[in-house]
């Protein structure tokens, strides 16, 4: 193969084709890591996402998390593995999707993201970009404070965003999971609004900066 043809292939249109869904048609294994600081709702975000994909969308999912000292002092994480077969190894190895809420989390985990993977990070987290993975910086915490006056819903906004931007979970399922969790809580409405906001935000971003294959 000549140099020319190689280049030609590299820049072929096919590679720029817009993908509607981050998940490949046949998921052999897809790894998601949600990371951030203690108190940001990282574990519950992981649980909600895992539950929505597992029970809601009916896929094989296992979700695990860091415990103990590792989970304190500003760095906590939840791993979600999706697979079309049984999940043999339930921790992240090569991350397909990283959601990072803090700079520590971004620095710690971005190196494990696949080249073809996607990083969605809170704006503050990404001061110095690393690696080749596509990175989006979205000010989830800022949005939560401004739009809802409560930064606690930043993770729910992110859930909505992830769901509409990447398509890894259906809107119905993630809504169902959030609804079930806050069933008898006075925060149900707040969370549903935040989720919806995140969902629209993800759609908007997708138009401006879509996923490509």
């Amino acid at each position: 193969m000549t140099e020319k043809s190689k280049n030609k292939k590299y820049s072929s249109k096919k590679n720029n084709k817009i993908r509607k869904n981050l998940l490949p048609d046949s998921i052999i294994r897809f790894e998601i890591r949600i990371s951030g600081a203690g108190g940001q709702g990282i574990i519950s975000t992981g649980m909600l996402l895992g539950e929505a994909i597992s029970i809601g969308d009916g896929k094989n999912v296992s979700q695990s998390q860091a415990y103990g000292p590792e989970a304190r002092g500003g760095a906590t994480r939840a791993d979600i593995i999706i697979s079309d077969s049984e999940i043999y190894f339930p921790e992240c190895n090569k991350i397909d999707l990283l959601v990072a809420f803090t700079d520590t989390a971004y620095e710690k985990h971005s190196a494990h993201v696949k080249q073809t993977g996607l990083i969605i990070a809170d704006e503050h987290a990404v001061e110095m970009k690393m690696g080749t993975a596509k990175t989006l910086d979205i000010p989830f915490i800022e949005f939560a404070k401004k739009k809802f006056g409560n930064q606690i819903v930043a993770n729910i906004i992110a859930l909505g965003f992830v769901s509409s931007y990447t398509g890894i979970v259906s809107k119905g399922s993630i809504m169902g999971a959030v609804e079930d969790k806050f069933e008898n809580s006075k925060y149900l409405e707040l969370n549903l609004k935040a989720l919806d906001f995140g969902f629209s935000l993800g759609k908007k971003y997708f138009k401006e900066n879509p996923l490509t294959a």
């Binding site: 895992g50 539950e51 029970i55 979700q63 695990s64 998390q65 989970a71 999940i87 190894f89």
Partner: protein, 391 residues
Amino acid sequence: MALNRTTSDGHPVRFVQGNEAVVLGALHSGCRFFGGYPITPSTEIAEGMARELPKVGGVFIQMEDEIASIASIIGASAAGAKSMTATSGPGFSLMQENLGFAYITQLPIVIVNVQRGGPSTGLPTKLAQSDTMQARWGTHGDYTAVVLAASSVQESYEATIRAFELAEKLSTPVIVLLDELIGHMREKLILRMKKDIKEIRRPFPKVPPEWYFPYDIPNDYTAHPAPFGEGFRYSITGLVHDRTGFPTSVPSEVIERLDALREKIITHRKEIWNWKEYEVTDAKYLIVAYGSAARAARGAVAILRKKRIKAGFLELKSIWPFPDGPLMSAAKQAKYVFVAENNMGQLIHAVRENIRHTINVIPINRYDGHPLEPEQIVYFIKEEVYGHSTV
């Protein structure tokens, strides 16, 4: 709209941790007493029981230590309740003395050990399978253990239910070995329907108190001491005892008692054994594993079979008494048997005991607190397939 949490055939579905699955399994088995002490990574079981037991008229108590925890559940069992505790390595060590008490007095209890790395405080938040042998030999004296295992959230639920069934049926302590990974991991769990849950309970004496011998040795060797307060006033003691329950040191009676305790487990071994075979019929390379190591082993077989290497896997869902029958049958075609464990090599001793004279038994171990990866097992097996002979 809320998520649909039932399967098409009506089974409730949950997305929960292995530890939470244990709680559900225990409640579905009719467990009504939990005495425990917090310890990572088993604490969610105690927390779940504290939340749920009072709602069904059961009793939860947090005791002052693990010695008291197991003592309280044996007391509860003597009073007739299905009872359990949950712990991890250090706590399991503390329970060993009274484990022997439950064994010799034939009082059914269930102990869940969510294993973590050791020795000593070790790795509290990381997985290990390093209590494999402690579960078998931990208590002093000659002891025959009944130990079940689980490699997924679903199996944690099933193993807990099975543990209560066996404990009540055999009137003996039953241990369930999970590990940190399985205990803390969330997966889909399909619950049994109420109508499918057959609650097994130890039989009540069929004779009047004056004819009653609590520690008679029947044909199946199993004594079922009557619950306290039902009119059968008899003696329970940790001393070697005769059929009335009173201490004895008459040599013939001692032998009779110790033999009966062992025979009880051995004669019921086929009922206790639980295993699953993966591609074993023509397997030249057989993997043996339980718990979280079993997940990696299943993955390894999938990878190796794609490469046309005749690998198979025998998953043990019960480990003591050791399922030697299933091992012999699965290893019929095997040239090599690999024992994959998250420890420095424990289960392998039992495998070697049975087949070392005919088949090469090779250990695959990981003990850094992380689960075995399928590729790690594949690497070791490939080394045997191509390694020494072809280099």
